[in-house]
Assembly symmetry: C2
Homo-oligomer: 120 residues x 2
């Protein structure tokens, strides 16, 4: 069988090194490792008080929250609460920052297109 | 904010009505409901002894196992064990059937391209 698998616990967490990130880690589960054609499956872990960069880009995110809670916010002061079991769609060009305002780790799937900015 | 969210518990399970499916349900979390451009996030639940069709198609799956365990198998008798926390890549044209050979529900994310057969 050409089916490939990888357990989340068998992959090392990497630091999110982007400017504006704090106490945030990630790992890539399905991507160039298996030659996926269309979209990349990553998992992020944000520690209490941590966040990803406040930024925008021309591709979308699709998220699924595996553990914990937090908020998605922008520079206008708008925010959306996110909780375990939520699926979230962040459209292209939508400013966003994942922020963990809780006391437990926030862990979520974050999907991106393999070719960013791709439109169909 | 144009960010959309939907909790997994707020969406009804639908029967997998494809021929060859048994005791399998699914729900679509991110898809046409939010106008996603590139890939559709669905969740499947397979009850003990249940399965999806044994089939093949010209698009890939990307999976993440949320709960339970089972196997992926094909008509040659080959199989791969799948467990909670596994991410799985099923390439285009790879024959596959998700089968729950355990005594607990098997629940997993199953992503597909929005335009099936799309290649980049």
């Amino acid at each position: 069988m050409n089916i490939k698998k990888l357990n989340i616990d068998d992959i090392e967490w990497l630091d999110v090194n982007l400017e504006g990130a704090k106490n945030a880690k990630y790992k890539i589960l399905l991507g160039d490792n298996f030659g996926v054609p269309n979209f990349i499956l990553r998992v992020f872990k944000i520690f209490p008080g941590g966040h990803t960069p406040l930024h925008t880009h021309d591709w979308e995110h699709e998220n699924f929250i595996l553990e914990g809670e937090g908020i998605l916010r922008n520079s206008k002061g708008e925010e959306i609460k996110i909780n375990k079991g939520d699926s979230i769609y962040v459209p292209p060009f939508e400013e966003h920052q994942y922020f963990n305002n809780s006391e437990k780790d926030l862990i979520f799937i974050c999907l991106i297109p393999r070719v960013r900015g791709m439109k169909n």
